[in-house]
């Protein structure tokens, strides 16, 4: 007890040391904790399915699959017990007249709830989708539509025309599954009606859905992979023609980490999880290293205490245990703090990694035992080195006053260098990511994007002229354009073969207002204008090998006149280069998917409100969102912004860690030289001279760290930038700035300690021993 009391007083007396040790350790542990929970969650995705070892998704790198494939495979292979096809779509759901809600849903085969184990709150898994007109609502949608009323048996309408009966309520899909949250589940047979497309389930060419197979117990479906691939190459046109070449049966547990993103699925990169695991270990290593170093640095003070205790009868074992105990206590304080911190930053973390950690749910007895076990272990380990060092002081040393000199050279200079390498590299990386993100959002895309808003076009083909006319009446609206495909979505793909070379074109269909609205320059060809005429972009001509535009071009059966060439503009994320594009003209009776409005620069809020009111009236109260084009384009780069932020946080953390590291180091180092400083001062050295003397060594280490960090981060960022068609330059000044920042912080930290030593009255230092 007494030694504990003494320890607490020691902590209180050395507030700075305590604060830095405990808070520094706690911050690192917070990251470790959050990341561990995150990694654990990611690895447990889809663990809850009863049939998890028997479910596979059929995957190809090049395509999704069509409805008949599932039926054919089930009929051919005895290994297959059942299949589930899924298709994700959005629609409007109407529980009562004049109440319309947006919803996203998943259309599935009726065995969905039996194959997978998504829990139903109401309804029987084998019956809820038995007939075509049944719908299962998620708990949250049921609450939105019906409040506390029992939804089962209620009628709802989808897309204002199809009637359904609610047959069950399911728990919202949990976080740890590869399927995205859905508001409802319906029988996939309905898609035929929703799309008004007879072949939705029967056309072999409609390759837009995911297919899951349930394997019979003790069967081995994957063993049949090559056989299936062979038959596809024989009978399935996509494979016959060489569009698709690969085929896998991916086990359910691996779908989440698969490169293939199917309809309605989430995914994560295994690399990210591995990288984060490495980071966890790294942080833990650095944090423990710091803790050990700080404690050893402090031990120069405590050596005396230990030696006296030994002199007065304390055994080595007792003192050793005392230090271990202290370390565990300090560790527990840090752990408690880190739990608190973790709870505080959980929301930030969730939004950064697009996840929900549910830390509270992790508070199970088992986890707590594991957690405390691990941290008592860490406390023990991190106390071990200082304990061994300090308890090896001999009592004679206290009598002679020599122990202070004995703790020499223990501090790893390598460790400090390593910490600064990490810090400088991270800093450089995060700046390059920020620079690239800025570059992407600021890049001239080849079209104007300011003051243009867009909304989905929902009014139907017949009303196109009327909608345009109504919206043009609003004073703030300058132009209206209705299109099918736009620079925002890249349009639809047209693949064909020209002169034995496969060509992949994007196509958009626009009205005449489109060009002036987006300020896209057209160079007319010699061909006379006609309604059937098409425009190519420059890249399309190059791709086909034309010097200048031919009079017409035959993509499929029909020869189409080329009436103009447009300048290349970006119509996809800047990860990709500009590809070949064909722009077709759209007449007033053709299908349109999006509506663009050019609005005046002033009073935009009022204009938008008017647009909303008018448009809502025109589409009978259907819900919709209206967005600015430039906002939507910025949205493309949220991932980069997020990566930048994540790295930013790690940079901050590594700064904290290396700050603590060098603080411990300088404390220790300067204590060693306290007497020397005193003597130098007595002999006339100035404070500046002493500061320079003490800082010299640290500059050396940071410089070494710099030379290691530059090539590493240069290489890593080069690799990262290769993922973009448009790249910013990796400027040398970024590295210089990163190095200087690290150096400045290191110097400030060192001077903090050395200044105290330098201004101290030398008499005190000299009397000390």
């Amino acid at each position: 007890m007494i030694s504990l009391k003494a320890y607490l007083r020691h902590l209180i007396k050395n507030k700075l040391y305590t604060l830095v040790t405990v808070v520094g350790f706690a911050i690192s542990l917070t990251f470790v904790l959050l990341l561990s929970v995150y990694i654990k969650n990611e690895l447990s995705v889809d663990d809850f399915h009863k049939n998890k070892d028997r479910i596979y998704r059929i995957e190809s790198a090049d395509t999704d699959f069509s409805g008949p494939i599932a039926v054919n495979l089930r009929d051919t292979y005895a290994e297959i017990q059942d299949f589930v096809r899924t298709y994700e779509y959005q629609g409007i759901i109407t529980p009562k007249a004049n109440q319309n809600f947006n919803m996203g849903y998943l259309a599935v085969d009726n065995s969905f709830f039996e194959v997978f184990s998504y829990p139903l709150i109401k309804g029987d898994p084998s019956k809820v989708l038995a007939t075509k007109d049944q719908i299962v609502l998620s708990k949250s949608l049921a609450l939105r539509l019906f409040g506390t009323e029992d939804p089962v048996g209620k009628e709802v309408t989808i897309d204002t025309r199809l009637k359904f009966t609610v047959s069950g309520v399911m728990e919202d899909f949990p976080e740890n599954t590869h399927l995205k949250q859905q508001d409802a589940i319906i029988n996939i047979q309905n898609m035929v009606d929703i799309f008004e497309y007879e072949g939705f389930l029967t056309d072999i060419g409609f390759c837009s859905m995911s297919i899951y197979f349930l394997e019979k117990p003790n069967a081995d479906l994957r063993a049949k992979t090559s056989e299936v691939l062979k038959s596809f190459k024989k009978d399935f046109w996509l494979y016959q023609e060489g569009y698709a070449n690969t085929l896998y049966f991916t086990p359910l547990k691996e779908i989440y980490f698969s490169d293939k993103v199917g309809p309605g699925t989430k995914s994560n990169s295994r690399t990210l999880v591995v990288v984060l695991s490495v980071i966890v270990l790294l942080i833990l290593f650095l944090a423990i290293g710091n803790y050990v170093n700080l404690t050893i640095a402090q031990s120069t003070f405590r050596g005396r205490e230990v030696a006296i205790k030994k002199l007065l009868g304390g055994s080595k074992k007792q003192l050793f245990l005392q230090f271990i105990k202290e370390s565990i206590i300090l560790c527990l304080i840090a752990v408690s703090l880190s739990l608190l911190f973790a709870k505080l930053v959980e929301p930030v973390f969730n939004s950064l990694l697009e996840t929900k950690l549910h830390l509270n749910a992790q508070l199970t007895l088992g986890n707590l035992v594991l957690f405390s076990g691990v941290f008592i272990g860490i406390g023990f380990l991190s106390g071990l080195v200082p304990a061994l060092r300090i308890t090896s002081f001999k009592p004679i040393e206290v009598v002679k006053g020599t122990f202070r000199k004995k703790v020499k050279g223990v501090y790893g200079k390598a460790f400090i260098t390593f910490q600064y390498t990490v810090t400088i590299a991270l800093l450089a990386c995060s700046w390059i990511i920020v620079k690239q993100t800025y570059f992407l959002t600021e890049k001239d895309l080849g079209f104007k994007k300011e003051n243009i808003v867009w909304a989905p076009y929902l009014a139907g083909t017949q009303k196109k002229t009327a909608v345009k006319a109504e919206l043009m009446k609003i004073p703030g609206v300058e132009q209206v354009s209705l299109v099918w495909g736009s620079p925002l979505d890249g349009g639809s793909n047209q693949s064909f073969v020209y002169k034995e070379k496969p060509q992949s074109f994007q196509e958009i269909r626009v009205d005449s207002a489109f060009f002036s609205m987006f300020d896209i320059k057209i160079s007319p060809t010699d061909v006379a204008y006609s309604k059937e005429g098409v425009y190519f972009n420059q890249t399309a001509l190059n791709s086909l090998g034309f010097e200048s535009a031919p009079a017409s071009f035959k993509m499929y059966e029909r020869d189409e006149p080329i009436i103009g060439v447009v300048n290349d503009f970006n119509f996809k994320e800047l990860r990709q280069n500009i590809g070949p594009l064909v722009i077709r003209q759209q007449n007033d009776s053709a299908y349109a998917s999006k509506m663009f409005l050019k609005i005046k620069g002033n009073n935009q809020l009022a204009t938008l409100n008017q647009v909303k009111t008018t448009y809502t009236r025109l589409i009978d109260n259907l819900p919709f969102d209206i967005r600015f084009v430039d906002d939507t384009i910025d949205q493309w780069y949220v991932k980069e912004v997020k990566t930048g932020k994540i790295i930013g946080y790690f940079t901050l953390l590594s700064f904290i860690i290396s700050f603590i590291g060098i603080l411990a180091m300088s404390t220790f180092y300067i204590q060693q030289r306290y007497k020397e400083i005193g003597i130098r001062k007595v002999n006339g050295a100035s404070i500046t001279q002493i500061l320079a003397l003490l800082s010299k060594d640290f500059i050396k280490w940071v410089a070494l760290a710099f030379t290691i960090a530059v090539p590493i981060s240069w290489y890593a960022m080069g690799k990262w930038l290769e993922g973009f068609a448009y790249r910013t330059t990796i400027s040398w000044w970024i590295f210089v700035l990163a190095g200087l920042t690290a150096l400045t912080i290191a110097l400030l930290t060192v001077s903090w300690q050395s200044f105290r030593a330098a201004v101290a009255n030398p008499v005190n230092a000299l009397r000390e021993e």
């Binding site: 007494i2 009391k5 003494a6 320890y7 020691h10 007065l312 009868g313 004679i396 009598v399």
Partner: protein, 220 residues
Amino acid sequence: MLLELNNIFKWVQQGGQRVFLLKDINLKVAEGEFISVMGPSGSGKSTLLNVIGMLDGFNEGEYHFMDESVHTLREKHRAELYKQYIGFVFQAYHLIDELTVYENLEMPLLYKKIKGSERKAMVADMLDRFNIVGKKDLFPTQLSGGQQQLVGVARALISKPKLILADEPTGNLNSKQGQDIMELFKQLNNEGVTIIQVTHSEKNAEYGSRIIQLLDGRKV
């Protein structure tokens, strides 16, 4: 005989040469003696005291302490021996700053595994005897040098050692404070405690019953 040194030599290697710190020391100390060690600075007084206290080893010779042959003992055993029988008093007090006067006194008893009630009585007894009851809750830094040394002596005494080794116990004190400590030693000696002290002051040396002079590591 409490302890006996026979032909003790101690040296260190310096630049390939032996530098002798103690040369052929012969010394018999009977229980109840009060010995003062004197000699010029660097003559080996502290070294001798540390050898007697078993904090430091020697290279040649024999050392018997209460019928044990110290020169044949392992370090661990030696440590047990001094912990049990010897109390140390230093020039620089060496109290633990984080503990109160009371706790500093209690500490050696904790290591001897003495029961709580008994411990309390022993500490109270010491506080009483040294007239520092009023200071028991203060920390060492809140005491004067003389008071600190008083606590140091009390701490050395509390586990009832047979021998007290004091290296310039009054070195940091003014003459009045030094005199008080000497009076205290005298009184302890009268009660049967053996004392060996190192001192530079003739006056303090007079308190002892015998004076040993050292010169260049040799007894004169």
